[in-house]
């Protein structure tokens, strides 16, 4: 996709009859490969989407709407929004700060630091939830103290937010670090030489250079924060109307064999995913344009 326009003339279409020459595969091979791709992606991407929406609407609009405006579903949506509202800004700020110090400076142990920031990616969501139970749960490190002061974290909203912060921790940072590294330091140094302050330099020089990458990271972070299931499932008490996020609500409805409602609520998350993908594709395109213009 990236080199689309540039290469259009160089790569013959699978169905085009132009002379392919030595650098193209025979037509049969091309058709076979395109066929495989279409089959595989239809099976794994298009069919699930189709099945999801057809299942959600199988009893008609009325049922679909009723499933979405049911009080438990609404409270789940509220909790999911609250979670995202805490998580995304926190990880956005962390991502900016972390990428400034890792991308604009050289210091020993830098690659270790980047690896540690990425660590939550390689930890199973279930284990991410588990560690917060071990810290804040009744038998955990802070459990007795929290109980004495009547603070509830596990099986309550703060636990859900914390586990989600852990799971989405690397998203913004890992988009920004390579981008800011590629930008180098010269522009910032020039701004400083011309008398700009540190924050002024950041907001007027650095930020405009990385804004699309930043947005990209935020979109991914938000999608994951709203959709996280494993980690949240461990720390939430599954209390209907109180500590259920939308993905947990989907699970409960499904396990109650209330399939239409489960798929209806799930279709909301699927729509969110599709919107995220559209925005992501847009920011990628913008980022490429920006890089082309800058280069």
């Amino acid at each position: 996709m990236r080199s689309n326009d540039m290469n259009r003339s160089r790569y013959p279409g699978a169905f085009s009859v132009q002379k392919a020459g030595a650098l193209a595969e025979p037509l049969a091979v091309r058709l076979l490969l395109v066929g495989c791709t279409l089959f595989f992606l239809s099976l794994f991407l298009l069919m699930p989407l189709g099945a999801l929406f057809s299942e959600a609407l199988s009893k008609g609009w009325q049922e679909y709407r009723a499933a979405l405006i049911e009080p438990d579903a609404l409270s789940a949506m509220r909790l999911t929004l609250v979670t995202a509202v805490f998580c995304v800004p926190f990880n956005l700020f962390f991502g900016i700060v972390a990428s400034w110090c890792t991308a604009k400076f050289t210091f020993p142990g830098k690659s270790l630091l980047v690896t540690l920031i990425d660590l939550p990616f390689s930890v199973s969501p279930v284990v991410s939830g588990l560690v917060y139970v071990l810290v804040f749960g009744l038998q955990g490190w802070l459990g007795p103290w929290l109980q004495a002061h009547d603070i509830k974290i596990i099986f309550a909203v703060p636990g859900i937010v914390l586990a989600t912060v852990f799971v989405t921790f690397p998203f913004v940072a890992r988009e920004l670090i390579p981008l800011m590294e590629a930008q180098g330091r010269e522009e910032e140094e020039a701004a400083l030489t011309l008398g700009a302050g540190g924050l002024q330099t950041f907001f007027r020089v650095t930020l405009p250079n990385v804004k699309w990458g930043l947005l990209y990271g935020v979109i991914l972070c938000n999608a994951r924060a709203m959709g996280e299931f494993g980690a949240v499932s461990v720390v939430s008490g599954h209390v209907r109307g109180a500590t259920n996020t939308v993905p947990l609500q989907v699970e409960i409805l499904y396990n109650e064999y209330n399939f239409v409602a489960a798929f209806a609520v799930a279709s909301l998350l699927a729509l969110l995913a599709l919107v995220s993908l559209a925005l992501k594709t847009f920011t990628e395109w913008k980022l490429r344009q920006f890089q082309k213009g800058g280069a």
């Binding site: 996709m1 990236r2 160089r10 790569y11 595969e25 025979p26 091309r30 490969l33 395109v34 495989c36 791709t37 279409l38 595989f40 992606l41 794994f44 991407l45 298009l46 069919m47 699930p48 989407l49 999801l52 299942e55 962390f94 972390a98 110090c101 604009k104 400076f105 050289t106 630091l113 540690l116 920031i117 939550p120 969501p125 279930v126 284990v127 588990l130 560690v131 071990l134 810290v135 749960g137 038998q139 852990f166 910032e188 140094e189 540190g198 991914l220 959709g227 299931f229 494993g230 499932s233 461990v234 993905p247 989907v250 699970e251 799930a266 998350l269 699927a270 995913a273 995220s276 993908l277």
Partner: protein
């Protein structure tokens, strides 16, 4: 260490301001959000005696869950590597209707919440689902068997290999292929001897990522796996089961083993990748 970092940051390496505060904040967040919580795993596991630890992590049911989880993840990552190369190749090299849309949709498994993916796949492959209806009379049972686990893992691992191989193919210097063609190589020889070795490190990276993701995956699998102990029970589910029985130490012990195994696999693959990259550069 903090002091030497600070000194290096400002005096030695550059003129930009803000190293000390940003580094301080980064380390603070990292310690509070990631390192302290993760370290509790090892402290909690250390409260067990060695015999209890072994008893918890080597019980037959737990061993069976490792086999299911790591075995299915390996198969799924291999499937992803194979199909990912074909998909990436097709998306980069050929033009066909719907290509842009499919290209954007490849990331769907990243964006779609795992629980949604789980119930949807279970719905499709259940005996009354779109594909289950067709497959079950043929004797192929997918939902509620280990095959379902593999299938869910293939779904969530789908984008990794495609997205690591795609940029390599896009930036690939076609003159290399032209040179190989001039030297008389046919298309298959050029692919297997020239193109594939150069994209192999990327394939390996994607494979590693897909494997790591599949091993830890929970949400999309529990709905389709059937979760029968000894047969189709994955390790993350076992951890949750233990937690629900308030067996915190046991859950932690299994989690530690899982983490250690996946880190060892990742380390081995990283070394392999370094080696293959060096090989590709020669």
């Amino acid at each position: 260490m903090a002091r030497s970092l600070r000194k290096n940051g400002t005096a030695g390496w550059g003129t930009l301001p803000g190293f000390a505060p940003t580094m301080g904040y980064t380390l603070l967040c990292l310690v509070i959000v990631v390192l302290v919580p993760l370290s509790t795993l090892f402290f909690e596991a250390a409260t067990l005696t060695w015999d209890d630890f072994v008893g918890a992590v080597a019980a037959p049911r737990v061993l069976a869950s490792y086999r299911v989880t790591f075995g299915a993840a390996l198969l799924a990552a291999l499937t992803n590597a194979f199909s990912g190369v074909i998909v990436a190749w097709t998306l980069v090299r050929y033009r066909f209707p719907g290509r842009r849309m499919l290209d954007a949709l490849v990331d769907l498994p990243f964006a779609l919440p795992t629980a949604v993916a789980g119930i949807t796949l279970a719905g499709i492959f259940a005996s009354n689902g779109w594909l289950g209806k067709v497959l079950e009379p043929l004797g192929v049972k997918v939902a509620f068997t280990p095959v379902g686990i593999w299938l869910a893992m293939v779904f969530i691992g789908l984008p990794f290999v495609v997205r690591t191989v795609q940029p390599v193919l896009e930036e690939f210097d076609r003159e290399v292929e032209e040179a190989a063609a001039c030297l008389g190589g046919n298309r298959w020889q050029i692919f297997s001897r020239v193109v594939f070795p150069l994209m192999f490190p990327a394939v390996l990276t994607g494979f590693t990522l897909a494997f790591a993701r599949a091993v830890g995956e929970y949400g999309s699998i529990v709905f389709i796996a059937g979760n029968m102990p000894m047969v189709s029970e994955i390790t993350p589910l076992l951890i949750i089961t233990k937690l629900e029985q308030y067996d915190y130490a046991g859950a932690t012990a299994v989690a530690v083993v899982m983490l250690v195994i996946s880190f060892m696999v990742l380390l081995a693959l990283n070394l392999l990748q370094k080696w293959s990259r060096r090989y590709a550069e020669q």
